[in-house]
Symmetry: C2
Subunit: 371 residues, 2 copies
């Protein structure tokens, strides 16, 4: 348990001067735990269904088809910047894009999620996954990245789904509450599970390296559903693959963000996986989450996205609690604890960006003014 949510934000004893930090680089500086002029803020699914223009663009269009159109993906990625001065953009795409390109029959059912008509079940099924050659298989993603870099004044984040989360969709055939077939697979045939993780891990690494080569300035790996595992299973069945991916990314030097939902018990292990920034959901108070991953990595989060459907006063109180728990420590990136929900008012996110920027404004020169 943390402190009550309605106290004023406490100031750190000596806010470090942040010379050189501004809107264009505060996100990347925070990833490296460098002092910043304001806490950077972006939102998972910031280019999503809460935006009327997005809903219009989606009408009659398949999401994967949208992801395969670089001009459309670019346009959607930029949409939220018409409303608010976010500190990072995240490429509009879907975690299932690479697995679809590897030969799986994937579709995104609106309001449901990814569906895989012929899931991975039998011993021969892994053969259906071709290795991913990003330049040949997903050129549209790389093209969108190149186009976006010409348009953007803030850093562009690339992303991929993590092998466990991808495997869950591929094995269950769709979104799953219990992930029971995936768990039965890993426990029942650990060797074949390791092969599946290796295949998906190699694809994720290749995909992210290609995104970096095309221009993304940071990468986020979404292991959205890995919080369904206990620490023993994570250690045995997921951690080695994640470590391999983060190691492989280390060479290109861009910040690596690792995000999952319900990962309170896994945070020390996710830290071992090797990310520079760990993204956390709202269940763990931010300062406790940061302690668990260690203050030598940056942290991203963690306002409950459901809160954003409440009146502004409630959103404000909870957002300030997040900032207070971050305590002005360098290396906090403000975000929600999961993606923006479709019913979220645009005005709430606008106010939230302003609140974070205003309440965390630091002196640019001599460190004398409070933030």
């Amino acid at each position: 348990m943390g402190d009550p949510p309605h106290e004023p934000v406490e100031l750190p004893p000596d806010p470090p001067a942040a010379t050189g930090s501004g809107p264009g680089d505060r996100f990347l500086r925070a990833c490296h735990r460098l002092p910043v002029d304001r806490t950077p803020v972006w939102f998972m699914r910031q280019a999503g269904r809460y935006l009327p223009e997005y809903r219009k663009l989606r009408l009659g269009r398949d999401i994967l088809e949208m992801c395969r159109d670089p001009e459309l993906a670019t346009r959607v990625t930029l949409l939220p910047f018409e409303y608010m001065p976010l500190d990072a953009a995240i490429l509009f795409s879907d975690i299932m894009v690479p697995v679809a390109a590897m030969g799986m029959d994937v579709r995104i059912e609106p309001g449901v999620g990814p569906l895989v008509d012929d899931p991975l079940r039998g011993p021969e099924d892994l053969r259906r996954l071709r290795p991913l050659d990003p330049e040949a298989d997903v050129p549209y993603v790389l093209e969108a990245i190149r186009m976006l870099r010409k348009e953007l004044a803030v850093p562009l984040i690339g992303f991929a789904g993590a092998p466990f989360t991808l495997a869950s969709y591929l094995v269950e055939g769709g979104p799953s509450r219990n992930h029971e077939m995936t768990k039965a697979f890993m426990h029942g045939d650990p060797e074949r599970w390791a092969m599946l993780m290796e295949i998906l891990g190699a694809a994720v690494l290749a995909f992210l390296l290609a995104q970096v080569a095309a221009g993304v300035q940071a990468v986020q790996i979404f292991d959205s559903w890995v919080g369904a595992l206990d620490p023993d299973d994570y250690t045995l069945f997921v951690l080695p693959t994640m470590r391999g991916i983060f190691d492989g990314l280390a060479e290109v030097g861009v910040p690596r963000i690792h995000f999952g939902v319900g990962t309170g018990e896994l945070l020390p292990l996710m830290r071992q996986a090797g990310a520079d920034v760990v993204g956390v959901d709202w269940r763990v108070p931010l300062h406790e989450a940061w302690e668990r991953v260690g203050f030598d990595v940056a942290i991203q989060g963690n306002l409950d996205p459901a809160t954003c459907l409440a009146p502004w006063e409630a959103v404000e109180a909870k957002a300030l609690a997040v900032l207070r728990r971050a305590a002005g420590r360098p290396g906090h990136i403000f975000n929600l604890g999961h993606g923006v929900l479709p019913g979220t008012p645009v005005a709430t996110l606008q106010q939230l960006v302003d609140l974070v920027h205003e309440r965390t404004a630091r002196p640019m020169e001599d460190g004398e003014e409070a933030w």
Copy 2:
């Protein structure tokens, strides 16, 4: 993180003698943290879809209708005892039975869950919830309890859904991934939320007191979805009501079990709510969960139910890890971390009951033999 899952179970230095403990009372003794001859074991949803007879009985029948038939509810409650020597029975019923009896239009959609056609949304909606008079509104539940007490050689557990979990169904209209309307309700209109909690809390308390009067020897409150809340929200919007219910139950003296899923961060608060036994899911290693709630309450759990779909060797290894973490400390009740999943083989649960009983067998007389 805990220790690796494949080590032998460690013996406590001096296993206490458990004179007087046997199959009929080991569950209740464990609730009171008294020494027992074997660790008691029961399973949430032990009378459920994994049993072929249950599936047959369900054909063409509505679940709520089954719950309203005391003879059928009795028969279903007893079904798992034909297969395995469980240490407790739990009344076959559904958490939505009392709210349906309070005037809400509820149905259980097979494979989906409870659906409420006309959810609680407007400011006048709370009036639609009548106070619950158990003897008049749910006599069939009390009748089933009386019938079961004549049949059972082990204790009978009564239960109710907790106000937050019930409210989520009533506000969202069905199962929800994000509980966003419920959260918007609590943050947007805290006073009306407090009224809703009070109405539901009073009904839950009256329902459980009536169950105790009819003969149940322990009660479990399922706050299945409360793990969606952060500790601040739990403290403000849920804890006061839960404390009231547990206080109200204290007078009748039966053990009070408090269970939720994904509650790792809430465990210290759930302990404050006042239960005698806290039920935990599989995400937190059992010894860590026990530390968080305090060793002066008993603990119930916490094998991942999805594991039970894997081959027996995997189930065994993970069950032994749970027992090792319990370390023979009095007050452990073995259970799954959530309900038995429909695809679970009956044989796996049978082996699991035997495993727990065999590996935790304690000397009955002089404390000399290892367990």
